[in-house]
């Protein structure tokens, strides 16, 4: 019950925070990609996408996530409407 009240005010328990941090840290550890390399890759992928469809290269997002022992790389970008 106390946990419930505490979470009502602070949002998340420290246990949930730890879990979230671990998922993120392990995803990066398992991919072997340090922060700088990841940003390099993001810029390269953005440039490739931009060759085919109009996008805002700065808004391309890259994310590594892990669940159990599998790690997923997600690149997301919204396509800008074509200027006709």
């Amino acid at each position: 019950m106390w946990t419930g009240i505490k979470n009502l005010f602070s949002g998340k328990s420290s246990r949930d925070v730890a879990k979230g941090r671990l998922h993120l840290v392990l995803a990066h550890d398992r991919s072997g990609l340090e922060g700088g390399r990841l940003q390099e890759m993001r810029a390269e992928i953005a440039a490739v996408i931009a060759k085919y469809v109009p996008i805002d290269a700065e808004a391309v997002e890259i994310q590594i996530e892990t669940r159990s022992r599998s790690t997923q790389l997600t690149v997301s970008s919204s396509i800008q409407p074509r200027n006709v």
Binding site: S13, S14, R15, R21, L22, L26
Partner: protein, 263 residues
């Protein structure tokens, strides 16, 4: 032919040596012949945790270099019928032995004992590579903390690459803290590391007290941690393990939704 099991963790201070001492003692109590190998060359500790520090004559590096026979380097634990310790050297460093040395040493020990438990040093460098070289399987010890689990995950990856199957022990878990939402539960740790779990050792003052005296907790018997070490030893040896005894009030509490269900 016995089984060689390496106890490892990546991070230091999470309870590898205590786990090695207690699982080894519990396996010996179950009637198996057990040898504990301290692979932490240069920083030996298993001897003091076992209370055998005054009886060391030869050590693992002597045995590998042929200064004495392997059997002669083993220290017999007089409290039990079938428990031995092969201490590390305190003056050499990790490079004094190679993975090949360890592989043939462990192979010979497996011929004379049911279980060879190898206490791995912290880290993932030479000492780790030596310690896992002769192992058939691994027990990864992690405490429910971000840093420990992160390091454990690294070690799990390295063990998989070396084809050493691994199982997990979560050490120093506090049911109270888990219930309050201030500690990762054992199921959180399993979910994150995706490893089969052997057991979870509760945080227990008794372990500190018995370790002060150089007595493995399972020899004094009654503490909650000792009971869990014994259950894990049975599981390791392939004995049937009875489900945890649950008291009347706990069951009542659970039925009323008052206490946390086992995580």
């Amino acid at each position: 032919m016995g089984r060689a099991i390496v106890i490892t963790s990546g991070k230091g201070g999470v309870g590898k040596t205590t786990t090695t001492a207690n699982l080894g003692t519990a396996l010996a109590q179950l009637g198996h012949s057990v040898v504990l190998v301290d692979a932490d060359i240069g920083l030996r500790n298993l001897d003091v945790v076992m209370g055998l520090e005054n009886r060391i004559v030869y050590h693992v590096v002597d045995a590998i270099r042929g200064k004495c026979s392997i059997q002669k380097a083993l220290i017999k634990d007089r409290r039990m019928d079938n428990l031995w310790l092969l201490p590390a050297s305190q003056t050499d460093d990790k490079d004094a032995v190679t993975p090949d040395d360890m592989r043939s040493l462990i192979f010979e020990l497996k011929a004379t004992h049911d279980f060879v438990l190898i206490d791995c040093p912290a880290g993932i460098e030479q000492g780790f590579k030596n310690a896992i070289a002769g192992a058939d399987e691994a027990v990864v010890v992690a405490t429910p903390e971000v840093s420990s689990i992160r390091d454990a995950d690294r070690v799990v990856g390295l063990l998989a690459a070396a084809d050493v199957p691994a199982r997990l022990i979560v050490n120093r878990i506090s049911a109270n803290l888990v219930r309050r939402g201030d500690m990762l539960s054992q199921s959180d740790v399993i979910e994150i590391l995706a490893l089969e779990m052997l057991g979870a050792i509760p945080l227990d003052d008794q372990v500190i007290a018995t370790t002060n005296k150089g007595v493995p907790a399972v020899l004094e018997g009654k503490s909650v941690a000792a009971k869990e070490f014994i259950r894990i030893a049975k599981r390791l040896a392939g004995h049937e393990v009875e489900p945890e005894a649950v008291g009347f009030f706990t069951r009542l509490g659970r039925a009323l939704g008052l206490s946390a269900t086992p995580a």
